[in-house]
Amino acid sequence: MTAALLLASVLSQAYYTPAEAQAVFGQANDAYYKEDYAAAQQGFQKLLDHGYGGSDVLYNLGTLYLAKGRLGEAVLYLERARRAGRAADVEGNLAMAKAKQLDQVVGAAAEEPFLQRVVAATSEPFFSWAFLVLWVGAFAGFGLFLVLRPGRRGWALAAGALALFAALGAGSVSAVHYTVATTVTEAVVLAPELKAREFPKDSGKVSFEVHAGLKVRLLETAGPFVRIRLPNGLEGWTEKDGVAAL
């Protein structure tokens, strides 16, 4: 199974040469400026489907959806672009999309929770790699201390201790990423209008309605329903198809 996935991944990467991928990207951009949004969307989506993602493609696709007035998809891809790398243009268009969003979540905290802010402000690959390298380095230093003759091995112990200390710091940040990734699933409402019910049934009483572009947390699923939580704690069951995980 893993081998098959790996093979599929390799094949999908090989779908375009870098030059071809860049050409598809350019054609999609041209289509956008000619207001042929369908062709532009198809181009960007093709790149994503074949593994040619990244902040640039995600940002352009999000901006395209924003120009088309598809607020849900716009917020989805701009948020994904933001996760791939923060930039002023992403923040600008995301702010514009959120300004057009219909829902006002009353009582929501002005800022995101601390852990999510840590995740947003730090790079998971950097800290995870830093942790791994420092961790291994620390124990390598300790190992050297064992091997070297007495009187010539003090530096190894000091370097190992220093690396261990730094590894624990990087590891803490990495652990925050892990915690948020495994416990917090964020999503964006795609449907123009989505009813949140008290129970995961079509006959459930409608508690409130949310609209395209609203960012929510996914808590649990039950059949075709998913329980969402708004930033102010409001919760309800809604159709799974109406939201897309970030």
Binding site: Q13, D56, Y59, D89, L146
Partner: protein, 621 residues
């Protein structure tokens, strides 16, 4: 029914024949006929009673039955004059009554005979048998009843142009109500099936056989499910002659409204009500009448159309720009007009959009509604004021108005072309700068500033750096083995070192013991040399045995050390002073023995004993 002459012409002829001799009159002829023998309960039929040569003072009693309702009766008289064989003329007078009847129930019914009562005799016609079925039965005479072309149409004095059996176009012949048949309200809708948003016209008539004086109060129904507007509300009652089921009525239009259904489904227009005054002056009578409900089927717009195509009708969009080249700070006027047929009040024009460099203000809207032949429409004009904010050439995109054409059954679009606007710095800008003033007026006028504002969407990124979707490092297969492997390897190395140290320590003790055993063995070998007569070898072996023993016990080679150094090493190793002296003495004896071998066996035995005592008592030191 068709009349064959003018009433006045017939009256003149009747006066002429009244002066003719009575002897010229012929015998009485009396009969009745019916135009059809199979009718429905909702149909009307005509019974014609004819009497020829009725004497003066005769009376006709028309057939009466509870099974039939007489809706109308008309009379005509025909006189003919012919020359007889004796040269005298014969005048024949024929009177004809046409009764319009309707059956009150279904079944095989009999219409009683008509009776003619003359001063001398009573005549009866034959009864008529009719088969009456519920509802309506097609009229076999309908085709024949169509009026032939009248060659005298339009000539004064000929025909009855106001009498027509044909219903007015778009207005089906109404059904005469069983009660209040002399005066009733009737509502018509010109379409039975239409699309949401398509126009239908509701007409409300009052049909009357009475003298209508006025309609005092008219209550129109609530038109739920419709957007409506008055099309025609006559201020005066103007009637027109109508034959309904052969019965002459005068029809008066009370109201005509246009309806635009706003939802699909079977919709019903509820009955209207009116207070009507009949008769004149003191003979006037006020009557209340309630009309009929009208049902209409409203279809939703076909699927697959543009999302904003909610208007139905026929529309044309146009755009007019006041100028395409302006100075900064000067406004442009853009007029967007939509005209055509449909519900003007509900159309929504596409908004004018422009680049951020052109600020578009809210438009002023002017509507001019029109109706042509009962079809509503008009022109909506939106006038935008556009103020340039930046210099340059900017393109304002064209507008598209999508609508559904109910006549063709297709979605259509009306478009305008995009246009470009060139904005120049302004007359007071560049030229004024060139002419010398340090701060030209244009630069002080905020309206003429080239405003560079961060608005609108940020542009797309021109080039891409492609990345595969990032997978967290901790999900990669090598992460856990590497992270756990590092401390595990360290621990392993630590344990290995400890084990190795432990093993190494064990070997040294063994070696010491081995060396000690070897030393003792060497001492035992030296004992054999004691009696061999070679004292130097004997003492050499004893010394080697002692030094080997000390090597093993002290853990370091002691051969070559001076006596003092050896004493220090032993002292450092914790060897007691007695032992040190004992060993030193034994070594001294061996050294003297090797270089001055004068002693006998006793001396050698003593040296052997001293060395053995030093070695044996070592562990007990």
């Amino acid at each position: 029914m068709t009349r064959t002459g003018d009433r006045r012409a017939w009256a003149a002829l009747a006066l002429a024949v009244a002066a003719a001799p009575a002897s010229a009159l012929a015998d009485v002829e009396f009969y009745q006929t019916v135009d059809r023998t199979e009718v429905g309960t909702d149909d009307t039929f005509r019974v014609t009673v004819v009497v020829s040569e009725a004497p003066e003072g005769s009376q006709v009693q028309f057939p009466a039955s509870n099974d039939f309702e007489q809706l109308s009766r008309s009379q005509s008289t025909q006189m003919s004059y012919s020359l007889g064989g004796g040269g005298s003329g014969v005048i024949q007078r024929v009177q004809k009554w046409v009764l319009v009847l309707r059956a009150n129930r279904a079944g095989n019914l009999t219409l009683p005979p008509a009776v003619l009562v003359t001063p001398n005799h009573t005549y009866k016609t034959e009864a008529l048998k009719l088969t009456v079925k519920p509802g309506r039965v097609s009229d076999p005479n309908a085709a024949r009843a169509q009026r032939p072309p009248n060659p005298f149409q339009g000539f004064p004095g000929f025909g009855f142009p106001e009498d027509t059996d044909e219903p007015r176009a778009g207005m089906p012949e109404p059904e005469i109500p069983r009660s209040d048949s002399d005066l009733f309200l009737k509502a018509y809708l010109d379409k039975e099936e239409l699309y949401v948003g398509e126009q239908a016209t509701l007409s409300l008539y009052v049909f009357s056989r009475l003298d209508l004086s006025s309609v005092d109060a008219l209550t129109m129904p609530k038109l739920e499910g419709f957007w409506s507007e008055d099309l025609d509300s006559p201020s005066q009652l103007v009637g027109e002659q109508r034959l309904v089921g052969g019965v002459p009525y005068r029809a008066f239009l009370l109201k005509r409204r246009v309806l635009f259904p706003v939802r699909a489904g079977a919709l019903t227009v509820q009955p209207a009500e009116a207070e009507i005054t009949t008769g004149f002056l003191f003979a006037g009578r006020r009557l209340h009448r309630k009309g009929n409900a009208v049902e209409v089927k409203v279809k939703p717009l076909p699927p697959g159309g543009p999302a904003n195509a909610t208007s139905v009708g026929r529309w044309r969009l146009s755009e007019e720009v006041s100028q395409t080249q302006v100075n900064l700070g000067e406004p442009i006027t853009v007029k967007v007009a939509l005209e055509g047929q449909g519900n003007l009040k509900t159309v929504v024009l596409p908004p004018l959009t422009a680049p951020p460099a052109l600020k578009v203000y809210d438009p002023t809207t002017t509507d001019k509604a029109t109706s042509s032949r009962g079809v509503m429409g008009g022109r909506r004009l939106q006038e935008y004021l556009v103020m340039p904010q930046q210099t340059g050439t900017f393109t304002v995109p064209g507008l598209v108005f999508d609508y559904f054409d109910s006549e063709t059954g297709r979605y259509e679009s009306s478009r305008t072309d995009p246009f470009s606007v060139t904005v120049l710095p302004g007359a007071n800008g560049v030229s004024a700068t060139a002419s010398g003033p340090r701060f030209p007026a244009a630069l002080e006028d905020p309206a003429q500033k080239n405003k560079l504002e961060l608005t609108g969407l940020r542009p797309l990124r021109y080039q891409a750096r492609f990345q595969s979707p990032e997978v967290p490092l901790w999900t990669r297969p090598f992460f856990l083995p590497v992270a756990a492997g590092a401390p595990a390897a360290f621990l392993g190395a630590l344990l290995l070192g400890m084990a190795r140290t432990a093993l190494t320590t064990e070997d040294a003790a063994k070696k010491k013991r081995k060396q000690a055993r070897a030393a003792r063995a060497r001492l035992a070998a030296a004992e054999k040399l004691k009696a061999a007569g070679r004292p130097d070898q004997f003492y050499g072996e004893v010394e080697k045995a002692l030094l080997g023993f000390l090597d093993a016990k002290l853990g370091q080679p002691v051969a070559g050390l001076t006596r003092d150094r050896l004493m220090e090493v032993m002292a450092a190793a914790g060897v007691s002073e007695d032992r040190r002296r004992s060993i030193a003495a034994a070594l001294e004896v061996c050294e003297m023995g090797r270089y001055a071998p004068g002693g006998g066996n006793a001396a050698r035995g003593q040296a052997l004993d001293q060395a053995a005592a030093a070695m044996e008592g070592w562990d007990a030191r």
